[in-house]
């Protein structure tokens, strides 16, 4: 279905090619996963499939890409619209119209599909992707998962034979990701569509893949018809694969189910392994205190009678469904919104009354879109502005940022940074004031494993410094890695407030992959397993 014949891509002005000598054939009806770290050329590879590279981006493509018997050299993307459906990383940025139905029809309008056929295909697509109840909704009012499904639907109406998805679930919460992946699965199995997708969150998709294309440094692509083989050598792997590699399981398990079958022996061996001791509960006075707070918008209460305390050295995970009130809790602590009833105190102050340097030294808040905090024209300018705002000595922010990302030049425009780097910059900006409490809203959206690891280290250092961190997140792996406490919100109430270890083992919804495989042994991460494992086990 797709044939890459010795493809090398060099962008204009680049010295080294982004992709070199890609020679891969993808048969019809496969779900192909493209794996590689940020900046390794995943997006470039995906964009060659419908000719966006090089028709749209410029650059030189050596070799040939033939998709559905059409050569991309002879067919620009618009002519391939009925053969390849391409959905970019942030689907919302690609929406042309403002309502679901119009968006689904837009591609067909461009392709001059007859009105009656168009109507039928829109109805089919609405059913196929479970969008029927949303048909008249404005696109702006949709949730992330709904948007992604509409974006997929909008290219499907052209009846392409290949679907290209760039990070379709990286920015989604688990439930929305589930919806999207279920839809993709249906397309592969029911319609025989060929799907090529990239994804950071391998744990979500790798078990469904029929084939993995692994991007090596230098732009080489290695084709693994068996995903397990790819995972055995991939520098990026989900926790379950890491566990399998550590224990030397063959074949390498990709799903919890497979891993549990392998793990019976390991569980027995480690049956009485004790988890690392939990840090003693902090005796210090709470740095942030939420007391009997009811909050919301007009007559809708998002939080009801909620009380939460955050001690210094705490890394608190706030979990719960979308709309459970996580973001509201964070913006209460940051003083972005005032409670309707109850009190909020941060380091003894009412946060809504704080402003200027006083606010920066007390609370730092990195919102879901870290880019919102950045408005200068270069990284250097941004850092200098942050120093001034926080009253910190010149160079503070730049040093913070540069330590984490030494490869980024001072003159870079913040808009040109990758997702992870932008988050790092926003963090550096917030940390310039060394706030007592650092708040993060969904910080791991769109981060790959390396960036996540770096974030985890940074947060641990904050805690060691005696500062507190509160994270609103869906990412159970991150919680298992760094958090000390877990607060779960549901429908405006606190339904769980405990240390993160007991939280993680109490419910499968919060259990990281390793805990699911090892249960009832209370180990949460691969690192913990490695620590308790006797040395003679092959690793």
């Amino acid at each position: 279905m797709i044939r890459f014949a010795d493809v090398t891509v060099t962008y204009d002005g680049a010295v080294t090619p982004t992709l070199t000598g890609v020679d891969v054939t993808v048969p019809e009806g496969e779900l192909v996963l493209v794996v590689g770290p940020t900046g390794s050329g995943k997006s470039t590879l995906l964009k060659t499939v419908n000719g966006l590279v090089p028709h749209f981006t410029g650059g030189t493509l050596h070799g040939r890409v033939v998709v559905a018997d059409r050569d991309t050299a002879l067919n620009p993307p618009r002519e391939l619209a009925d053969a390849v459906g391409y959905v970019a990383q942030d689907p919302q940025q690609g929406f042309v119209t403002d309502s679901v139905e119009d968006e689904l029809a837009y591609t067909m309008e461009s392709l001059a599909v007859a009105p009656d056929v168009m109507r039928r295909r829109v109805e089919d697509t609405l059913d196929l992707l479970g969008l029927t109840s949303l048909r008249h909704r404005p696109l702006r009012s949709l949730s992330g998962g709904e948007r992604q499904r509409v974006a997929i639907g909008s290219v499907l109406t052209a009846h392409p034979r290949v679907l290209v998805l760039d990070e379709p679930t990286s920015a989604l919460d688990p439930q929305a990701a589930e919806e999207v992946l279920a839809a993709v699965q249906r397309l592969v199995h029911d319609l025989g569509l060929t799907v090529v997708m990239s994804e950071h969150r391998l744990e979500r998709v790798v078990q469904y893949a029929d084939r993995v294309l692994l991007l090596r440094p230098g732009g080489q692509v290695v084709d693994y018809p068996d995903p397990a083989e790819a995972m055995a050598v991939s520098p990026l792997a989900p926790a379950v694969v890491d566990l399998g590699r550590l224990a030397g399981w063959q074949p390498l398990p990709l799903s919890i189910r497979d891993a549990r079958r392998h793990a019976a022996g390991l569980r027995e061996q480690l049956a009485d392994a004790a988890p690392p001791p939990a840090p003693p509960p902090s005796a210090a006075a709470a740095v942030a205190q939420v007391d009997g707070v009811t909050a919301g918008y007009r007559d809708v209460s998002v939080l009801r009678e909620v009380s939460v305390q955050v001690q210094p050295r705490d890394i608190v995970a706030v979990m719960g469904r979308n709309g459970a009130g996580k973001s509201t809790l964070l913006s209460l602590i940051a003083g972005q919104q005032a409670p309707q009833r109850g009190t909020v105190r941060v380091a003894g102050h009412d946060p809504t009354g704080l402003q200027g340097p006083g606010l920066i030294r007390t609370v730092g808040f990195v919102p879901q879109e870290p880019g919102d905090l950045l408005w200068s024209e270069s990284v250097g300018q941004e850092c200098r502005a942050a120093d001034v705002d926080a009253g910190a000595p010149p160079g503070t922010t730049w040093t913070l940022f540069h330590d984490l990302r030494p490869d980024v030049a001072e003159a870079t425009h913040p808009g040109d940074l990758s997702e992870g780097t932008r988050l790092t910059l926003a963090l550096a900006v917030m940390l310039a004031g060394d706030p007592q409490v650092l708040l993060l809203d969904e910080p791991t959206r769109g981060l790959d494993y390396c960036a996540k690891e770096q974030l985890a280290q940074l947060l641990r250092r904050r805690a060691e410094k005696g500062r507190a961190v509160v994270i609103a997140t869906h990412d159970v792996e991150l919680v298992a890695q760094v958090c000390t406490r877990m607060v779960m919100l549901a429908d405006g109430d606190v339904v769980l407030d405990t240390d993160s270890r007991s939280g993680a083992v109490s419910s499968p919804a919060f259990a990281p992959q390793v805990a699911k495989v090892m249960a009832p042994v209370p180990l949460l991460t691969v690192a913990e397993v490695r620590d308790v494992l006797p040395q003679e086990v092959p690793s």
Binding site: H55, G58, R64, E377, G415
Partner: protein, 293 residues
Amino acid sequence: MTAPAASPVAGSDRPLRLAWRSAAVLTLVSLIGLAMFVWPLFVSAQSDLAHSADAPLLFAVVLALLVVVLANEVMSGQLDAKALALLGVLAAAAAALRPLGSGVTGFQPMFVVLILGGRALGPGFGFCLGLVGMFASALLTGGVGPWLPFQMLGAAWVGMGAGLLPRCGGRLEVALLAGYGVVSAVLYGFLLNLWFWPFLVTGDAGVAFVPGDALSANLGRFLAFCLVTSLGFDIPRAIGNVVLILVLGGPALRAIRRATRKAHFGAVATFADQNGGGDSTAPASASARSSAR
């Protein structure tokens, strides 16, 4: 208004270049539009127009038709996806600013976007930006009416004029644009008032236009009309826009130019077939016309 001949300055920052025939149509429609603006000053006493109040309405219908013809001529087949997306985004910025300025005739903050866009992206693009931005904002604010074709044409001239200003850089450029902002604000307000004048005041009021009267006499009455009706609003607005351009002009121009660079207008896609099939090169942002090959 002068006609923009196909821009002599070729560069990758011009997402839309006017072909000679687009320029010809643009000139003709501009002449017609200008005539439909200034007719009260030149109309003869015997004319049909002098004695009926529906000239502005009929002119509006005809001009609406001609603006459609013009938009088709200037844009159709000339805008690739990148240029179109940029046009849509800038027009959205203009439309989002529309509610900040009120009324039909006056100069608005949205014109700052038209001026900056026209400046950064060339006269042809500036012209399209004026047309599209004004139309979209009218749809968004429910301000569709017989004045719309006139507003669109006026806004398009403002955008185009910004693109035709001489090249210079740095602070001088921003100052130039600020000056242009004042001039275009006054001219735009003047023209739209002129359109509204016979609509509002006919008959024998002191400031009514008298068909066939000497140009200077009518002009004097018209100036008096402007003085008492709109000048009080227009001047503060013009000053506000100058301030806006002086403060935001530099960074906003840099932002547009950065986006233009990122979009790689005129980037060339090269397919080098290593199996000896020969090189084939296609302009990456080839216009829609050169699609099938």
